[in-house]
Symmetry: D2
Subunit: 441 residues, 4 copies
């Protein structure tokens, strides 16, 4: 992934140095298991652990790879050069490349989730806090991007909390599923004793695969990808919402801008108008992450005990996906944490249609007074047609609400107080507490 | 594809009856070619053509298929029962199933394009007409969904014409590419004389494949899919625009509603507010069509002289994609043809920010009077910060424009007339004619 | 989905009749809840339930839809015509279309999973049985499609059981997640009392959504799609394996053919050679199902309290995906249940390279006798180079194994018995019982 | 893209240095156009061109970007610091960021195609040469991965040439389409005179966009992506074929291995058996490239005059896709150029079924002697059933061919010479010259 979208902590998990250090860790765990089984003294393990994987080792491995075209074999050779003679005959013995690679991958992916999952939970907390903050902040609800009925901004955010809660649960399950190692040899039939696999995995904090071929089945990796891409997908929805609500025609929220930030070199007022570039960025990265579903799913379909197509694809999409999700979470959490909200503008927008969004309430009130629903509907629809589309006023400036208050048929059934009640957006708050009570911090 | 999204003309191209009639047409063309080559009298062809593929034939073929699990073989048997004895020994002789199937598919896809391409051109014409109609209808241009500078609505639509023109050219190329038949036998090595292929294809108005295996290479079908999905993709963009512009907060356009149509059973004024459901529908179908890129691309990768995975996938995605694109074009053309445009509202929206969108013009005017660009930028930015976000007015109701007119530093350099000119949205029309002149009806 | 790939039980869940009957069920549950809350007598509910949704009702609804372009409103009107006057004022009152639609969808998807999940478990059982049957059936393991080391065919199948077990667990979780209804009104703020939602959902065997907008969040549906497509993806892998192993050059398995089935009208021996058409079909359908990830993920991204793009897409991909997975499971289970296995051919294939696949074992034996690994590797590699690629014999017919037995350096270290042991494929069975013991029927 | 899959020439096109040098080139072209129009002396242009974009400039731009969060603005500022005072007021004046960025992108993509297209043509030439080389090399054709009828290996390769020819034509068209620049300002309405756009584009060897918004329509980039991914897709098919044919059970081809290359550290004979890792790598990268269809298509759907989602996505997928395709072409061309072919093994495989693949020819010969097709089919099918599946011999070693020669009914109609002719694979060569004649070098 390009540097621009790579945060250091996650980026470090995917460096060549970290990968190969993890390979060494896995190889060492194999030695530990064999020593525990009594194959040789534990000193062999201790001596192996003393070798550190440095940039110098990597350089040597790169040199050797040029000759043999196989990165793990080259790495083993490079490390072996540094190993004590006591260790040399045992290092990687009985293992196949993907014993090391897939077990190391499990460790790296586990660490990725250890980075991502707390960020996801933090985002949930931040959104929940903002939801509480705006629990009673009235806002117009929009369906088809058209004004429908009022909601509160906190209620909108609470819906996101619900989505994030599902993702948290799924990532927790995923973190368990992904934690699988293997030391079962070239075709999974165990060149080494299965007990070595059990011990080595335990040593690494992993479970041994119940069964494997040369590799661990890739359904686990397509699940990893689908689960992370699903998080990105929800962020796409949330960020799209921020983009809609921060448009000049709505102006209900704005991304926080650092003082001194300019929106455009050409347009002096653009920063006031506020381009939601971090949310747009979130949407853009979500598209990339969705694209990785393709290689991830296809890569499960290997032939027989394994073919190698997955290798190239996984070298690309696994780091890229993990890094992007990590970046998106960090960036979008900041957007939400600092989001500027304009409650007065939200309230103004409720009234943009001159009260049309309360027509349903008037209709219900009329039917409760005995008018046929159909008749009530017609009266209100007719009044609604009178105002100009866009301004929602009559030539004389009167609104839908004014028309309702001035309608004789309505006046016969509904008092001014009753009408006031119909047009009171606060009625929407009736069940807000109930809904919020279903969620905990 | 479900009935809801299937128009009769296109749907008919994908019925079992039409498919099998086309198979018969291809088989007959083979007979015609052989007769032309002198293998037997032309009567054989004439007699074959007399057999019509009816529902009864299909029923018989279905019955036979149950025994043998192969739809083309069953069809050949069913037809053979009806053939004159003179024809029987020759019908399908020397052909492999996919000589018939792929050649027939080419004919059907060609007919699909013959339906789709004129609709695409018609959409282009409709959009172009609306563009001409609103060539000078001022509208605010939005970047990041934030007001930027004025454009005209016709200019916006003209951009779509440009996109459609590219699609038209690509579909014309595609219609040529797709027109390929084959009679080259089980593995493409010609059981029959290649001359028969040439003649039969010519008879059908197709070109013979330069080379084939059991099948014609599927790169052509992935190209068909990518080209059609790309059309859907552009419609997705256009329909998204309609959805944005018809939102209550913008109200610049609206889908035409038939008198009597109700937007919502619950909300009496929803039809006035105008849900853009046809545009939403267009976006939804575009998503489906994009999804077909996956099977279309994967289906090219067959093994050796062919494997059968493509068969099931193509039975589904080729009709579904073709039918959807046809439906989308018809529906969205209607949307565009009848689109209600609100020029007065468009003009009002230009002024929603109290003139901030003209700040660049003021800045340029100031620099032309000798002020440093940086200084001009700062003055205007400072004025822009004074008005309230959302209402874009000061507590006393004065706008950005008022502030500019009232600023002493500015007043020293720019006269009232010069400022009037800066704030005149019509200046945007300067190059409109030039741009339009690049397009022809 | 086309009839060819639709099984009746699953197809029935997606008919217009079933959908609208389910709508009526949901509407009735709403009445039950209101009656339970004391809004009106339970008779209202009983009378509503007496109305049956028949084809005649559907026809009437279709007629009404033509006028109003809204299928649920038309349906409500059609049912209302049949309702007792006592019920009329209450039917659908206080509900928005998607209270009914989304709740009904949850019921239908739950039924889909009730069909699919047992089939998935059945496939697991069938594969497990075949794995047990061939627990000790030796077969060459292939990596890179190249012979590696022996496995057993049962071991190969057991790996699939492991994958299926993961899918079963995920579908069980999914069946819980999907079971959510809503009666929360136009924007999720509860026109009706939340208690009605709770009661109505309970009545339907669903949980009430903790929160909803006009609709239930689509992250649940993209999860449904990803989970089902993942099943299809694993079947793709398994079916690909069947296709590879049944190729003429391998001939280790064959799909069972009904007596009388012909492979090709042109090639009389093709049925003996055995085209694996059901497995190819499985792979083809998997491609279609993977394609639905695109609309499913995109459909989560709605604007504000909902936009309608998801509607068209879900009308297509939800039934199509569900029907395909159901079909694939049934078909592929049959393939596995009746799969013809050729153990003798499997054993022959182990020896196809003249014993090269045992070279590692000879190398290990040599090193255990004190030879340097590098030296042993070189000796064996040199011997391996002597035989002809493809036939794997010397001009005199001697094999790699013969060369090893005849090599003086080797003979000095390894006795005939020790070599026999190296070349004994049965050594691979050493840990088979251990691996199988990890799985239960 | 990771270093492993990045070739220097293509990698250099996507460095920050090259991107920003290209920005400077575009800015300079704007100056050239303005000078040509007489806005200022040509010296301004000459002085601007003297400034070179060095790593130091990039470092300065990075520093400035940290403050303002906008890479192009920061770059303009960094360059401006180095510009002669005469140039400063004119550099970037009247341009919007994407005038520079999109025009520079067009130049970079054009250069990508200038790298890719010759490689594609070279691959076509290499495959064509190998096709000519093996024009008459007999090989069994496989359908459903099952032996069908003989072809030649050259014929197989010639089919790939046909596919590559179509891609070449499409890339040539694409290279024209992609060559579009814009200098039309913030919303495409021309802050500058359109003539400046025309001149500047001409200066850069581009065409001016007929119309643009803030950006050039992304349908062009989704077309770029679809066209390149389609090339990768065909390589996927070809590489899959190499992988199948080089499997131990077929052994008809092998990737060339450098002397000293080892296939496996564990298995001494694996290099002889020959893992087709370069072809597997090609397939893996194809999966990644197909995944970029998702962001490419989605990125066309921007709102109004542009939103920014495409930016992040294009920063990733455009270089990654271009670099991968370039790498794949280079690698797979090498595979094809050096591919080891085993004609003797190909011939042996034709006979693997003991002649069953000639059964159709015997059937036709029998019918030509007057036997009913059905009867002939039955006789041959019955004989085919006698041999063992897998070995394709009788217990006594006799083959299908032996059985045919020994069958009395057949013997009555066909002489030994006539049967010899039926079983002569060379008959397949009859039309080979005709097919090859359709292609030119």
């Amino acid at each position: 992934m390009i540097k621009r979208f790579t945060l250091p902590e996650m980026g470090n998990l995917w460096t060549d140095l970290h990968k190969k250090s993890t390979w060494h860790k896995v190889e060492s765990a194999g030695l530990w298991a064999k020593a525990t089984m009594g194959e040789f003294p534990m000193d062999v393990y201790d001596l192996a652990r003393k070798v550190r994987i440095t940039r110098k080792v990597l350089a040597r491995a790169d040199e050797l790879e040029k000759r043999g075209d196989h990165d793990l074999i080259a790495f083993i050779l490079a490390v072996t050069e540094l190993l004590d003679d006591m260790v040399k005959p045992h290092y990687h013995t009985g293992l196949t490349s993907f014993d090391t690679e897939d077990t190391a991958l499990a460790l790296i992916l586990r660490d990725c989730l250890s980075t991502i999952l707390p960020k996801l939970k933090h985002l949930r907390d931040v959104v929940f806090e903002r939801a509480i903050e705006h629990k009673y902040t009235l806002q117009i609800g929009r369906t088809h991007f058209v004004h429908a009925e009022p909601i509160t901004f906190g209620f909108k955010l609470l819906g996101w909390v619900d989505v994030l809660d599902r993702h948290i649960r799924k990532l927790e399950d995923l973190a368990v599923e992904i934690g699988i190692g293997k030391f079962s040899g070239a075709v999974g039939m165990y060149t080494l004793d299965p007990e070595i696999e059990r011990l080595a995995c335990e040593h690494l904090g992993l479970r041994p695969a119940k069964i494997s071929t040369q590799i661990i089945s890739r359904d686990i990796l397509s699940h990893y990808t689908a689960t992370l891409a699903a998080v990105a997908n929800s962020l796409d929805r949330f960020a799209t919402e921020i983009r809609l609500l921060s448009g000049t025609d709505i102006c209900e929220v704005a991304e926080f801008k650092e003082p001194g930030a300019h929106g455009s070199s050409a347009m002096p007022c653009k920063s006031e108008l506020g381009n939601p570039i971090k949310s747009e960025n979130t949407c853009g990265l979500a598209r990339i992450s969705r694209g990785y579903l393709t290689p991830a799913f296809e890569c499960e379909v290997v032939w027989c005990e394994r073919t190698l197509e997955n290798s190239a694809a996984e070298r690309i999409y696994l780091p890229d996906l993990s890094i992007i999700i990590d970046f998106m979470l960090t960036r979008f959490t900041k957007v939400m944490h600092t989001l500027v909200v304009f409650p007065a503008q939200m309230e103004r927008n409720i009234w943009k249609t001159g009260g049309m969004v309360f027509a349903q309430r008037v209709m219900i009130a009329l039917t409760q007074k005995g008018m046929h629903r159909h008749e009530a509907y017609d009266i209100l629809e007719t009044l609604g047609k009178k105002v100009e589309h866009g301004t929602f006023v009559m030539p004389d400036g009167s609104t839908f609400r004014d028309l309702v208050y001035g309608d004789f048929t309505i006046a016969k059934l509904l008092s001014r107080e009753e009408l006031d009640d119909c047009f009171d957006p606060k009625t929407v708050l009736k069940h807000v507490d109930t809904i919020f009570a279903r969620f905990v911090a």
